[in-house]
């Protein structure tokens, strides 16, 4: 088990080369945001856009369109019931599914479409209700994805792995992950005060930073968005996931220096500055 350090940011966040265009920084699709949880997909999208994804699209309930563009004109929109969603999924480098998705039949159908359309060159980040739906029906797992990243908090992991929280030891978690997704291309980001990252080969990484001011709604959605943004730019290796988790907490710690509560939307705002700093370190 290794502790993640600031070094991972220097390593992963590369200085951009001049002969590049937005396509080089990845296409990310975020799926989520029901009538009740529209804010979750907005916060995830803020994480993705502020962490530098090349192109970002959002599939959500049409009720969320106005707020999406009021906050984030950079994001493209698609009604999540639109039959073109299937084709859009196929064009993406990364799909983040789950923030504010909800447990409706439509949400389940979307997972079915995702499973059907995803292929091995793509990465899927599964978060929140996407994980809960998969807990109910394991066949919804988009196993054809080249890389699968699961980002449950402890209760979601309990539902998915059937391991109750007190028994979520490293070895139990690794076994459960390998059983759930036998290929070694899966990564589990188990969120807690000290988030653990498990990859399919048995490596474990622990996040030593972060603060309790981050204990507020939307923090996990934002992390999912940052993971997607970094994978789009730096690939789906476990180093990228470590960098995303560390960056998220580092940004939270920066806000918490002066603020009692860390609003997720404030956290996302400082990402471009933090990433700049680390991209120039050697």
């Amino acid at each position: 088990m290794a502790e993640i350090s600031e070094e991972i940011l220097k390593e992963v966040i590369k200085k951009r080369k001049s002969q590049t265009h937005k396509g080089d920084y990845g296409r990310v699709l975020l799926i989520g945001g029901s009538e009740n949880y529209g804010g979750a997909i907005l916060m995830a999208t803020e994480g993705t856009i502020n962490s530098g994804a090349g192109l970002t699209a959002v599939a959500t309930h049409p009720l969320n369109l106005g707020a999406l563009h009021a906050r984030l004109p950079e994001a493209m929109f698609i009604d999540w019931r639109d039959t073109k969603l299937a084709d859009l999924i196929k064009k993406m480098d990364v799909v983040i599914c789950g923030p504010g998705l909800g447990m409706s039949d439509l949400a389940k159908q979307i997972l079915v479409i995702l499973r059907r359309c995803i292929s091995e060159k793509q990465t899927v980040v599964l978060d929140a209700s996407a994980l809960d739906l998969i807990s109910q029906d394991k066949t919804l797992l988009p196993t054809n994805a080249g890389h699968l990243i699961l980002t449950p908090h402890q209760m979601e992991w309990q539902r998915l792995s059937q391991i109750r929280i007190p028994f979520q030891t490293d070895s139990a978690n690794i076994d459960a992950l390998n059983q759930l997704i036998p290929d070694s291309n899966a990564i589990l980001v188990l969120k807690s005060n000290h988030t653990h990252i498990y990859d399919g080969t048995g490596q474990i990484f622990v996040n030593p930073i972060g603060n309790p001011g981050m204990a507020t709604g939307g923090m996990g959605d934002t992390l999912a968005g940052i993971i997607g943004g970094l994978v789009a730019q730096f690939g789906p290796g476990v180093e990228t996931i470590q960098a995303a988790v560390y960056l998220h907490s580092l940004a939270g710690d920066l806000i918490a220096k002066d603020n009692y509560v860390v609003r997720p939307t404030e956290l996302s705002k400082v990402l471009p500055k933090l990433m700049k700093k680390y991209s120039e370190m050697v």
Copy 2:
């Protein structure tokens, strides 16, 4: 009668412990925001979220959804006509009812649902039109709540207590409060230039700070939101209410140093910084 001082902030606003998660900082539901007064519930919600509540949900007219998420993606949304409102109320630690609620039949029905669903582990903050509706029909009081906090301004208190403003003396107010809510678990926050707080045991606390730049629409809604946010984190004791009232005025005084009018939305923005400062004082 005691004057509230800065000390109450040091006492109430605790440094967060590291082994905590958002559930530890309380679930708050805000109910209000008719077609005409949608801004009121938004301003209350900004008070709640910026003062650090763990999870915040808003039951409001569906017309307000777009602006809610454009300003506050951190908030969950429910259409206030949704039959799931009753179940949602049951899951909350604090319910703030009233900002922009209006006097419609629907508003009345919501108070009936609130009264039916609330229980003794929960705190209810009643503000604005919720108080006016109760003035018309006392049976709407959600007396099953573990703690009831009323936040009328003087005219609303006149309607509720039948005491005309010039006769709203401390002893008259205490008597009226005890008559209205015989249990000692009620707190009256009587808003004026020097807001008085009365608890059910006869204690009286006076707010010595604040400024006339705060005399603008939405200031009371914001206070209701802050009260809910602090109760969610620090419990429903009268110290928490004192802290909320004092914090609200302190933030207003900070803005008023440089601004003729104190916009409620600006006031809410400085809450995380002020709270940070006092959480670290001993």
Copy 3:
């Protein structure tokens, strides 16, 4: 003819007294904002709220509700087709009618309602398309208002007064104003690079400041809003109007120090700070 100076701000903008509440700072209703010109009423409302009105309501096309509250939760909303508009008008201290109103039949009906409901304790600020509609039909003038303030630019004044721009001399303007509104309670704010203010008694005041970076859409709407905000607080005297015109240009000059174009929304943001400064000068 007198040149307005900074002195007017010290004189008009009074330090607020502590024993006051929002009702003491006036109720303002803004009417305007068609489907096509919704932004105009938003910018006017930003002027009103940032200049310190106690309570602000907006009657506009329902399409504008979302953006109104996304920007300005402080404002109350009423659908401008709502039959309760007539009653609302009666409760106001100041009504600003015109920004983005448009030339529709509905706009005309609103002027009819305004004329019918307004009374002598109230001030009406007429701007933009309200003036153009009155140009077509003089009976739409709300002559029962205690004070009438017209804020045309030169072309609108040409249509209203029938004086072509090159012939808009001071004496011609005064004659036309007195003919249009025989009572001496009318004030004409004739907007140009050096806005002139004419009152019904023949006084003339010229604004010496301002800058061409302010030559951008929405600047006039913002001025109408500021006039309403100051009248609500400091009464409808010609000094208040001078202060509003000067304050608007002073804010514009402040922004223009660092900015090529002065966005109206940026201008409104600095009003609370500027007003604070002058409220404390003797």
Copy 4:
């Protein structure tokens, strides 16, 4: 082939004269923003308004109205299906068509209307899907415009010119431009890491600045908006286009000093300050 330098900004961006009004700074209409790409037209409009256009109107899908005014109350709105669009086009100095326009039949019809209504005193900026639609049907080119500015990226230019990217040499590009638009009043802004500007007389200008943090969705939309804003104020000469391209990159470089990714909306915010600086240099 000449390299664009900072000098072009001093030359083009003129200090505004005091005897001017908003009409002197041009009327700009932006057309675009389908259900899926509403953010594109918002970002273009931010470029136009922040670069100082006198009056700005937006023809877009009605779904985008709320976000438009939440971000930009300065912009007027028209439903892009509104039959009054044709008349509105006739009143404009500059029409920017394309950002987020999409490839629908309606989009095509809009190009037909644009072609029919535009005349020689007007400038048209064609961007994004407008160019792709013209690639499919050359008769959609609004050739009656006094000045035509095309702003394709390399792939859009490939579709329009039939020159594959590796073969897009200066001489091939000039030939293709002259063949496409035989009059010498056309300018091609071929976007890449080092954007080239070609005018109808064979001049070539290369942009030496910019940075790869700008490789993110919406950057091109913002440039189209800035081009329109500057043409509205400084005329359609090739110097204006050089200034717009250089200003866009300079703003991007300013943001990139401290930020890993350059969000287009952040870029637009610094335009008024940059333009101020250059307007005062001799």
